[in-house]
């Protein structure tokens, strides 16, 4: 069967639009028409067309101008120029501007057939190109992790190295950086790849439930334990156990897990028979565990046991070069899921997204693109589709810790007062000596 195309006929004469419309319908192509250049552009903005038949002589924007606009903004769209007033000059200009063919009205049916044969082969080349591009896009991914910036290249090498060993891994990084994806990638590249990958979010489980989930229980071990149940440590059997938010587990659970890691055996709740366990542990946290040790919230011995290899994930701020790639990926994902034609993003929108600080990292970017795709009324995302981001932009870019806020405020007052210490100290409500000490301690400097 012949491939079906989405075609638009752009001609100010109704009779021509209708003739071509009926003709192409006989091939089962999806046809739309426009009586002018601006109407055609409006329709292309709403959904993509693979082929346009454009009359040269139209009031307002003529066909050649429309051709140039289309080729500039939608280079994949093929354009055939049709005209009743052919000239070598206009034909040459059309071909130079990227027209696929040039037909003089009226033409013979077989001429149109030949043009369509040529168009379909050009279209096949375009499809093949997109297929190859899709394959190349796969190269920019590593086990579903997207990014080709230097920090990500380093991360991929580290994952490959880490995967070979069986040592415990601690993944650190801000929220939304993809810690579970990295844990899965390590598992997928490891010799345990064919065995289970079990993920538990420690922050979401109360201590008692966590114990039962990890170690399992015997029938009658506690009220409600009507049947014996295997714990994840047993279920994972030879695979990888991923404990997310490890910084949230209780001191008792740290001791219990430490014992399992040391002895490679465990006891189900209510059982006195040891069970041998074999798993690789990958933990993740967004917390500063070293600080937790100092404050007595986290056991040092447990920390050293889980932190044999440290993998730190860069924040999205540290790899802003990956933002266009990630946006493309999420745009394609949500266009597909919502069956909306949103396949383009304007450069100023990319600039806006790149200038944002992304405190929620890739997860936040994903949600932002999803929202923009769902609400977009055209196939191209623009700055206006991210206006909700811009309104919160300033607030979210501001310092998030009290110390940073204090530094930022004092710096601001100093700049406003041209670094006049006495005046600044008065405004801040502190004495000059304290302000001097603060400036020295925080290493504040006059901005250029």
């Amino acid at each position: 069967m012949e491939p079906k195309l989405r075609i638009m006929i752009v001609d100010d004469e109704l009779i021509v639009r209708e003739s071509l419309l009926y003709w192409f319908r006989k091939y089962g192509h999806e046809i739309d028409t426009a009586a002018s250049g601006p109407e055609a552009l409006e329709k292309i903005e709403q959904k993509p067309f693979q082929l346009l038949f454009v009359d040269i002589k139209m009031p307002g924007m003529d066909g050649l101008e429309l051709l140039e606009r289309v080729k500039k903004e939608y280079p994949d769209t093929l354009v055939v120029i049709i005209t009743a007033h052919g000239s070598i000059e206009s034909a040459a200009r059309a071909m130079r501007a990227g027209a696929s063919d040039y037909l003089l009205k009226p033409f013979k049916p077989e001429q149109l057939s030949l043009v369509m044969e040529k168009i379909l082969s050009q279209q096949k080349i375009t499809s093949d190109y997109h297929y190859v591009k899709g394959c190349l896009d796969q190269i920019t991914r590593f086990e579903n992790i997207i990014g080709q910036s230097p920090p990500m290249e380093k991360l991929y090498s580290l994952i490959l190295e880490v995967a070979k060993s069986d040592a415990s891994v601690l993944i650190t990084g801000e929220t939304g950086t993809g810690k579970e994806l990295v844990a899965k990638a390590i598992h997928a590249k490891s010799p345990r790849a064919q065995l289970p990958f079990v993920a538990i979010n420690c922050g979401a489980l109360p201590d008692a439930l966590m114990e039962s989930e990890l170690f399992g229980h015997r029938k009658g071990a506690f009220t409600g334990a009507e049947q014996s149940r295997k714990g994840f440590l047993e279920v994972v059997s030879g695979g990888t156990l991923f404990l997310d938010e490890i910084g949230d587990i209780s001191a008792k659970m740290q001791v219990d897990l430490l014992r399992v890691l040391d002895d490679k055996t465990m006891f189900s709740v209510g059982s006195k028979t040891p069970v041998e366990v074999d798993f690789r542990l990958i933990s993740a946290t967004r917390k500063d565990l070293e600080k937790g040790i100092q404050e007595g919230e986290f056991r040092e011995d447990f920390f050293y046991r889980i932190n044999v290899i440290r993998v730190h994930l860069p924040s999205l701020r540290e790899r802003k070069g990956d933002i266009p790639l990630l946006v493309d990926h999420f745009m394609a994902k949500y266009s597909h899921e919502t069956t909306k034609h949103v396949d383009r993003i304007k450069s100023d929108a990319i600039s806006l997204l790149t200038s944002y600080d992304w405190p929620g990292n890739v997860r936040e970017l994903k949600n932002v693109v999803e929202r923009a795709v769902v609400l977009s009324k055209s196939r191209t995302l623009g700055v206006e589709d991210f206006s909700f981001l811009r309104s919160g932009h300033a607030a979210l870019s501001e310092p998030r810790t009290l110390k940073a806020l204090q530094e930022s405020h004092i710096q601001k007052v100093l700049e406003e007062q041209d670094w006049q210490i006495t005046r600044s100290a008065e405004i801040l409500g502190i004495n000059r000596v304290s302000l001097h000490k603060f400036i020295k301690r925080s290493n504040l400097k006059k901005r250029a």
């Binding site: 021509v16 209708e18 071509l20 009926y22 319908r25 013979k108 077989e110």
Partner: protein
């Protein structure tokens, strides 16, 4: 409504040609087809500048006529036809509609300028009618060269295509 096809000569058309067309419709689509009385060609459909009949206008004129008891009509004309974007057309049909039209004018000449046998002209006419009728059954142009729905831009193409539908098109034919 049960399918009943009417074959209508528009102006002077060889009687045998319309009979051959009706017989082939019955043979290949397994549908009853009758030859209906001749109707005059509406002269308002003649284009003075192009010296041909406008196929779109002819279809509109056919639409205004009463063909009671016939679900689909195939008009046959001996004159040359065009549509605004094409210099000429062999046939015209409303996709998924009830009216089609074929012209015998260009069937009387081979590509090399020689005159074909009468039987070959009738064979071409029957193929054209079967093709346009396929559009009335909402069949699209087919890429398969061994199919009556394959588009024939020139007369040699029409000689090459068979009378029958390929398997894919036959499957799409409404039952």
């Amino acid at each position: 409504m049960k399918e009943q096809i009417g074959v209508v000569p528009l102006g002077e058309v060889p009687t045998l040609a319309v009979e051959v067309i009706a017989a082939n419709i019955t043979a290949y689509y397994k549908l009853p087809a009758d030859v209906l009385p001749m109707r005059p060609i509406p002269e308002s459909t003649f284009d003075e500048a192009r010296l041909k009949y406008n196929a779109g206008l002819l279809i509109n004129k056919l639409d205004a006529l009463d063909f009671e008891g016939y679900s689909k009509i195939v008009g046959v004309i001996s004159r040359d036809m065009f549509i605004p974007i094409f210099n000429y057309v062999y046939g015209q049909a409303v996709q998924g509609g009830s009216l089609a039209l074929i012209s015998l004018f260009r069937l009387n000449r081979n590509a090399d300028g020689s005159t074909p046998s009468t039987s070959l002209v009738f064979e071409r006419a029957a193929k054209l009618a079967l093709h346009e009728l396929g559009h009335l059954f909402n069949l699209f142009h087919c890429n398969e060269t061994k199919c009556i729905m394959h588009f024939s831009g020139v007369i040699e193409d029409l000689n090459k295509i068979p009378f029958y539908l390929c398997r894919d098109c036959a499957r799409r034919l409404p039952r």
